[in-house]
């Protein structure tokens, strides 16, 4: 990419910049400098991604070290990657701003910032990876930094959750690595494009596909493997929860899509795809019921993530209609990408709002949040808008996402998913309404812990970050083409130059 006559290596920069930021915030002792550097670099990252999307063709690739696959490592970004890089850059900027206030008078800030930037580096690495082992290292970066960030909360519950999360994450990585080892044994390469070109539907491919899928599903928290998610996402500090729900689980889902739709597509069967779809459908109901029963606001939002992740897995049965990707592959990927972005914005907004409520009330027990509407109108407003998007009501990003998903389901003749999507929306409405109902009742009787003395400017700054994300969710509903154009003509299946 050329900017002002200088050729910038965009893809390496997206990894190098956060790493440099991590070192800088580790070495600097001043809080003000630390947050300013973070904000500047987050802004720079967003700028690079936007310029990358605007200036050139839809797909990028880069050969590190000049060796080329299979000896060297390549980087690649297609429409789906760019969409995820964009949403990551947007959320990193907003969450960094929020954290500047959230951690402003806390000794945890010093530990938070370096690990936060290392997490961002890991996410960007995963989104532009084109090499199976490189993905393993990226997964470890994401997993270990996410665990460290959850542990920052320091409570007993957070530590237990972090420990479970760490064990689940390491187990997932090892399953993934064994799958890669089998692939390397059979095909002699780690490059995704070369693997894809040689892939055959034989027992070894199925073994590798199962291992890689189990590893990634464990990290994505699809239903039977979701056990670590609610406690981890509920007990982490609010900005961390936002990043975990909005971005971290999406990274492993993104890799799953890469493997199923691009690398292993000759080996994938309709039954396997439908199996994932059914698990996704069960996850939607299970997550919604968990959210309805949750006693704490953040736990409710965490269970909501379990449910929303279920929708993403409808991609597989829809894309593999008639065992061929040609008919509905592109449309399904477009719908799910839109869903990922809408959910990321809404869920991040929701967690940031929940963090605001937690900071200003000192607790987040739903039954004791009476009168929140008067005390924290901004945070509650944010929560409500994000809820509208999660339910899928117009005008919001969530509405467009579900509408696209329903379209594909009807076009491909799989009407039963329509029922699942609609019922999920209904259940979502129930738990969102439950919170709003409490918040608007008995306006004068809010329980606020006495020791909570938070400066007003701080909470307003934090609320503004959440509100910005919520407004973005609505804007996304009016401007669907923003994302669809990004995906157009560069879907991971049709574009031959994607990983190549």
């Amino acid at each position: 990419m050329m900017i002002l006559g200088i050729t910038l290596p965009v893809l390496p920069l997206l990894v190098g910049l956060p790493l440099l930021a991590a070192i800088a915030v580790l070495l600097i002792s001043s809080h003000r400098w630390r947050t300013s550097i973070s904000t500047v670099i987050a802004g720079l990252q967003l700028l690079i991604v936007i310029l990358a999307i605007q200036t050139t063709e839809a797909s990028y690739h880069y050969t590190l070290g000049g060796w080329g696959a299979p000896l060297g490592i390549g980087l690649a970004a297609d429409g789906l990657s760019l969409a995820l890089l964009l949403i990551t850059a947007v959320l990193v900027l907003m969450i960094s701003l929020y954290s500047a206030w959230y951690f402003s008078d806390s000794s945890k800030a010093t530990r938070f910032w370096p690990i936060w930037w290392l997490l961002v580096a890991g996410l960007n690495t995963a989104f532009i990876a084109a090499d199976a082992f490189n993905i393993y290292v990226a997964l470890e970066m994401i997993g270990l930094s996410a665990v460290a960030l959850v542990a920052l909360a320091g409570t007993r519950m957070a530590l237990v959750a972090a420990l479970r999360y760490a064990l689940a994450g390491l187990l997932g990585s090892l399953c993934y690595l064994l799958g890669v080892a089998l692939l390397y044994r059979a095909y002699g390469t780690l490059d995704l494009a070369q693997l894809s070109a040689q892939m055959q539907a034989d027992p070894l491919s199925w073994a590798a596909l199962s291992l890689i899928s189990v590893g990634l599903l464990l990290k994505t928290a699809l239903l039977p493997l979701h056990f670590w998610l609610p406690p981890a996402h509920a007990s982490a500090p609010a900005p961390v929860s936002a990043a975990l729900s909005a971005l971290v689980v999406k990274a492993s889902f993104f890799l799953l899509v890469r493997f199923w739709l691009e690398v292993f597509d000759p080996a994938v069967t309709v039954t396997a795809a439908n199996f994932l779809g059914v698990l996704g459908a069960i996850a939607i109901f299970y997550g919604c019921i968990g959210a309805c029963r949750a006693q704490r606001l953040k736990l409710l939002v965490a269970y909501s993530t379990v449910a929303q992740l279920g929708y993403l897995f409808l991609l597989f049965p829809l894309a593999f209609t008639n065992s061929s990707l040609e008919m509905f592959g592109d449309a399904a990927v477009a719908a799910v990408t839109y869903f990922i972005i809408a959910h990321a914005l809404a869920k991040a907004a929701m967690f940031l709002a929940a963090g605001n409520i937690l900071v200003s009330c000192g607790h987040d027990e739903i039954n004791n949040l009476n009168g929140l509407a008067r005390h924290q109108p901004l945070a509650l407003f944010t929560f409500a808008i994000a809820g509208v998007s999660l339910i899928g009501l117009p005008p919001s990003g969530g509405f467009i996402a579900k509408w696209l998903l329903l379209n594909v389901a009807i076009d491909s003749g799989q009407w039963w998913w329509v029922i699942v999507v609609l019922a999920g929306g209904l259940l979502t409405a129930i738990y969102i309404a439950r919170v709003l109902n409490v918040a608007f009742s008995q306006m004068d009787s809010l329980n606020i812990s006495e020791e909570m003395t938070v400066t007003r400017s701080r909470t307003i700054g934090m609320a503004a970050c959440g509100l910005t994300l919520a407004i973005l969710t609505i804007l996304l509903g009016f401007n669907a083409e923003w994302i669809l154009v990004l995906l157009n003509g560069s879907s991971p299946i049709t574009d031959a130059g994607v990983v190549r």
Binding site: F133, V147, L159, A166, L167, S173, L174, L178, A181, R185
Partner: protein
């Protein structure tokens, strides 16, 4: 039976033993030992794949080196979390000056 097949199978068996341990064991240290055993199993499959008669492929060796370092990092993080938990339960008494 060739050497690489023997060690590939051994690697998968180690992976299975470790998997059983991770799920069945209760103690955190046992779980971590089982995870590391799984790791050794994966490394064995990789290194066995690197053997081609006289030629040895250096790429899996580099991968395993990376894997070993990542494994120790993960183990240390888990142990640290477990110790922090323990610290919450039974705080260390302040040492007399």
């Amino acid at each position: 039976m060739t050497q690489d097949l023997l060690y590939s199978i051994t690697g998968i068996v180690l992976f299975g033993i470790g998997l059983f341990g991770v799920i069945a064991a209760a103690h955190i240290i046992r779980k971590l030992i089982a995870l590391n055993t799984m790791g050794i199993g994966v490394f064995m499959v990789l290194l066995a794949a690197a053997r081609h008669g006289v030629v040895t492929d250096p790429v899996p060796h580099a991968m395993v080196l990376t894997g070993i370092v990542v494994a120790v990092a993960g183990t240390a993080l888990c142990l640290w979390l477990a110790l922090q938990l323990q610290l919450l339960d039974s705080p260390v008494p302040e040492e007399p000056p």
